[in-house]
């Protein structure tokens, strides 16, 4: 018997969670769909009808989506659901092992998915493969880097992370509110590799973050960051990249992003299939569709945010490729480093450091 199940407090808590969830489902008339439908836990880019409708029409299926933000919140939804409630999930590639540890995911059939067509650097084998089995496939990626308005700042300055802390741009900067990628950028700024970060690096990282904060006007989540850049509230976004500027390119072509000489932090989102899915065939079809050239083009240019498709054969138009700077990807990828993937203890310390940075005047 595990320690967790032996603890009466945890047991009671679990029962209460389940009772509350069951009651909510009963009173809601059953918010989850029939078994024939596909239930997907997703990020907002997957809720775009332009992405989902072609799949629904072609397969005569209804895709029920539930959006979440952050792996912790997503896994909590799964924990409070019944086995089989969900078929597929979008998850940070670095967090795939968290789902596997909880026994949630089904290994994916490599021969039925276009792994050979993916950009090699975004396969993320270290996190998507466990014990020789692949549990996640990267569907979209990009860079946490510098987004900027090229009419307001010197684009040459944006080739160095040092500019972010210089007096020249004081009060012109916004910081994207997600601690891991921005800590990754702070690491690059002080010459550290994101993969090598340890607790000993925290003081230096904190100092760098405080310097960034001193220059920043705000620290905002996706929409707030994007709005700040679009309205001219700030001219530079630390931690933003093509996911901010690409979607606004038509309205404001002055917005751009750079991969500075120190590098950028690669973000990557994966699709995973649930082990308890009652509709595995349809779940696989869905993953195949998302990874197909057509699905990839639609996902990359989703109304929620744009990002690079992981499939090199994505059916993007020339204009879309230009906005995403598709042709420059090999060079960008060569300078990109993965998200820091701290263990639980270091993760907690990093988040506390981020909290201190937010509270700093």
């Amino acid at each position: 018997m595990s320690v967790k199940s032996a603890n009466p407090l945890s047991g009671l808590k679990r029962h209460l969670h389940r009772a509350c969830a069951a009651a909510a489902l009963l009173l809601g008339g059953g918010s989850l769909a029939q078994a024939a439908d596909l239930n997907a836990l997703i990020w907002c880019d997957h809720s775009d009808p332009a992405l989902l409708q072609p799949f629904e029409t072609a397969n005569n299926v209804k895709v029920n989506v539930k959006e979440f933000e952050g792996t912790g919140a997503g896994l909590a939804i799964v924990e409070q659901s019944q086995p089989g409630d969900w078929d597929v999930m979008v998850i940070d590639s670095i967090d795939v092992p968290r789902g596997v540890e909880k026994g949630l995911f089904e290994p994916l059939p490599e021969d039925k998915l276009p792994f050979a067509d993916l950009f090699p650097q975004v396969k993320m084998d270290k996190s998507t493969m466990i014990d020789g089995k692949r549990y996640g496939i990267t569907e979209k990626f990009g860079y946490n880097t510098i987004g900027f308005n090229k009419t307001k700042v010197d684009p040459a300055d944006m080739q160095s992370l040092a500019s972010l802390t210089s007096d020249k741009y004081k009060g012109k900067v916004a910081i994207y509110d997600y601690y891991l990628p921005v800590i990754g950028m702070a690491a690059l700024a002080i010459g550290k590799k994101t993969a090598d970060l340890t607790e000993a690096d925290l003081p230096a990282l904190k100092e760098e973050l405080l310097k960034m904060k001193a220059n920043a006007k705000l620290v905002g989540e996706v929409t707030a960051s994007q709005t700040a850049l679009a309205t001219g509230e700030v001219d530079i976004l630390v931690g933003g990249g093509e996911w901010v500027t690409a979607g606004l390119a038509k309205e404001n072509p002055a917005l751009d992003f750079s991969i500075p000489k120190e590098g950028a932090v690669l973000w990557s989102q994966s699709l995973a299939m649930f082990k308890d899915s009652k509709n595995k065939d349809m779940a696989l079809k869905f993953i195949q569709y998302i990874l197909s050239p057509e699905g990839q083009a639609r996902l990359a240019t989703s109304s929620c945010y744009w990002g690079m498709p992981s499939n090199t054969k994505a059916a993007l138009t020339d204009d879309q490729k230009k906005v995403l700077r598709f042709d420059e990807q090999p060079g960008f990828l060569a300078r990109a480093q993965a998200y820091p993937a701290p263990n639980a203890d270091l993760d907690k310390k990093m988040q506390d450091m981020w909290t201190e940075m937010l509270q700093a005047k």
Partner: protein, 288 residues
Amino acid sequence: MNSAGNNGRAQPRAGRALPWALVTPALGWTLLFFVLPFIAMGLSSLTAHGGGGFTLANYSQFFTNPSYWQAMVNSLQVTAIVTVVSVLLAYPFAWILAEQVPERWQRLALMLAVLPFWTSYVVRSYSWLLVLAQNGVINRALIGSGLISEPPQLANTRLATVTGFVHFFVMLLTLTIFANLKQLSPSYRKAAADLGAGPVRTFLHIILPLTLPGIMVGAFLTFVLCIGDYITPQILGGNNELLMPQLVMMQIGRRGDFPLASALSIILMAVVTVAYLACARWLKIERA
């Protein structure tokens, strides 16, 4: 006779059962959606993230981590400012509505007063962001009029957060104070005047004390809604200082640290309870 006797015994029993039958749905609702989740949250707050036994670590973390503690200080400061400013703005507004606006126009005026409630928090907050932004309406007007040459930072500040909150809560307070003012009998004023009291004295010694319950009910609602709001400070405050709801959300997002989030929420609820007890006299709890 038998029948009459049976009825005589059955009626009191039915009479006793009826109130319970009527109140059962409300009790069930409260049990299901407040008591059970609250117990679950309380138990969760006493466990460690990732499993393990009973621990008070989540609570001690709050009291020993200065940045967590600062979030509570920030929340209380913002809430106090919002409540005081809202009361100061709402009272004259409610008084004008109740005393100066003709009866036939009061309904329209009240409808206009509740208009902000028709707009979602998110839309309202983003609208304020556009008004207060560097290139927003206010800064453009100030620069255009020649009063200033460099736009001050209005958005992404505590001032912006307070402005967004006050816009919403001043109307809530207006409604509660207005209802209280309308209940006052005109004979109070007449009696005060007969005894030689001027308008200011009548207001300070008669009207204000009698409308205190309305003020306190509105202030308490403002306090509760303001201290627990996540959206307005997130959008308008620019995360330049953390408030308690934001700190709670941070624990859930990536790490899924529900025990710590639960502990922080319990602490937040404890503060609300203290505010409730402080206002109990005016909220008429004893009479309930």
